[in-house]
Subunit: 332 residues, 2 copies
């Protein structure tokens, strides 16, 4: 087991926050090359259709920057980045007990290409397999999310998460009724009866439909939201702005930082896929590499249950309404 002192961890946290700010600024500057007065003259006629190459280059540049900074400062730490990792042959789960940086230089790539504001850099630091530090910076929104075990979770370093505190609201008695439900359509768009597209849509409709509808599965959520970034979905759940996030297909670099932030804020993250006995099975902590995530916002107690009980009740109500998603990984 890796051992890090409080002082060491605080130093790593401060370093990660600054790194996130710098990397986020790089993302925004690269985006501005496409539209602002900072655009080099020779690139004046970059067409939107070519934006994908530009994004790939930005991804690689930002990851290289982060990796370089980390390697210089903490040469003994392991580094897993989306870009370097994706080029490897396998997609095995490589996170062990050693201190490990798990980084997505640009989450929300489609958003970035279209200058839809919800894109960010996502820097996670993992110790003994646990997401311990998370830094997420969305530079277009000027929203910086950060957390370190034992130090609280924060928006822009000044507003503690969740935003509504003293008391933190309990989960609604009729959850998922009264909840903001965040989800993503994703890339798997196969029009086959059992594709993830149709599994997801059936689940979304169950969550949204009136109570009594869908053979008793209607969840009548307060709102359905799709932002296009798993990282920001998790960060918004930590804010308390999203009550429930349900998604499959992400990789650990998409969620490591967000899970660190949400966990430190008091949220719960478990598996998107219902276990066999969904009503009674234990609500287990998510496996970081599972690719299947169900997140519940931080919750305070109600007169009849603890915050954790309210979260677990909500998990079971979601599990009752969603289908198993079909995402796997090598060796899983």
């Amino acid at each position: 087991m890796a051992e890090l002192s409080r002082e060491e961890l605080d130093g790593i946290y401060a370093f990660a926050v600054n790194l996130g700010k710098e990397a986020g600024r790089m993302l925004l500057e690269a985006a501005q090359l496409r539209y602002g007065d900072k655009r080099p003259k020779e690139k004046e006629h970059v067409e939107k259709d070519n934006a994908v190459d530009l994004v790939t280059q930005t991804d690689e540049d930002v990851e290289a920057f982060i990796k370089d900074q980390v390697t210089k400062k903490y040469p003994s730490h392991k580094f897993i980045g989306e870009e370097t990792y994706s080029k490897g042959a396998s997609r095995e789960y490589l996170i062990g007990n050693e201190p490990t940086w798990c980084v997505d230089p640009l989450d929300g790539t489609v958003n970035y290409i279209h200058l839809f504001p919800m894109f960010c850099v996502s820097i996670g630091f993992i110790v003994n397999g646990k997401a311990t530090i998370g830094v997420v910076f969305a530079p277009f929104l000027n929203q910086l999310f950060s957390a370190c075990t034992g130090r609280g979770a924060w928006l822009n370093e000044t507003q503690q998460l969740p935003l509504v505190r003293d008391p933190i609201p309990s989960m609604p008695a009729k959850a998922p009724g009264g909840c903001v439900f965040a989800c993503e359509w994703g890339k798997d768009r196969r029009d086959q009866p059992d594709s993830n597209l149709h599994r997801k849509v059936e689940s979304f409709v169950n969550m949204a439909a009136e109570v009594g509808g869908r053979n008793g599965r209607g969840g009548m959520v307060h709102g359905v939201r799709c932002l296009g970034s798993a990282t920001l979905d998790l960060a918004y759940t930590a804010m308390g702005s999203v009550d429930i996030w349900w998604e499959g297909g992400c990789w650990e670099w998409d969620v490591a930082a967000g899970i660190a932030i949400l966990s430190e804020a008091g949220g719960l993250v478990t598996s998107a896929n219902p276990p066999e006995n969904e009503a009674t099975a234990p609500v287990e902590e998510v496996r970081l590499g599972s690719r299947l995530y169900l997140a519940i916002r931080p919750a305070g107690p109600s007169p009849t249950e603890t915050g954790r009980e309210g979260q677990e009740r909500t998990v079971r109500e979601v599990w009752r309404r969603v289908r198993n998603l079909d995402y796997s990984r090598p060796g899983a």
Copy 2:
């Protein structure tokens, strides 16, 4: 027909921008009462379940403020606000040729209740039935959108819309492929075969599914996004961040300011519901009170078509994939 000089219009525009900023700050301050250190002690234990009342009060207070300012400054102008209007018995369309303010003090009410950042104040000014000035301020995001006929459309008064310019990108050749598609699930959640819920979901799936799927209707959009605010959907379309927005059920105060901003940026707004000959029928300008909206982002020319031709092609490709929505109004 009402006649306003350029100077008068510019004066009204400057007034509207300041009004939007002040009203947005009121929204954020009221929200902060629920979580920040500005919360009065006696309200310390406001529960989330009571937030609806608080929001209604905020809605009314902000609309009263805006109406008071407008009435003092422009006593001859007509004023239509969501709050005052909704209390009336009918929902007739009341906009004529006279200079008319059309205001939603708080768009994205569900977002506001949950402190999900996408809420805003929306101030439209209409002359001869046309949305002429629009001011939208989302204070949590610190995003101010503004436009006046002939003066361009702007983000935070400094970045002209759409964001990608010189040249403004043409619509993708395979639109809706390559497009960001914004839509909303809305409040009509009836689980009946022909409800708006099921009409919408069928349309969403057509837009998202792989090309070749859905009996040839698969649109393979680049991303599906749901923000929970019609006003911000329109503003993001004006940015160029959203390529296509399709929605029914809004009222004129939800869209007047956004349509002014999108139109001035070069976007197109027509009806959500396909006409009978969707492939050849003229693409008509939207009727402000129609409750059915299909918006396309500003588009530049390609080697083979004008920007407008690309937008109209996209409109027809959307019409081919969506179902008629069932929203009406008294007298329509």
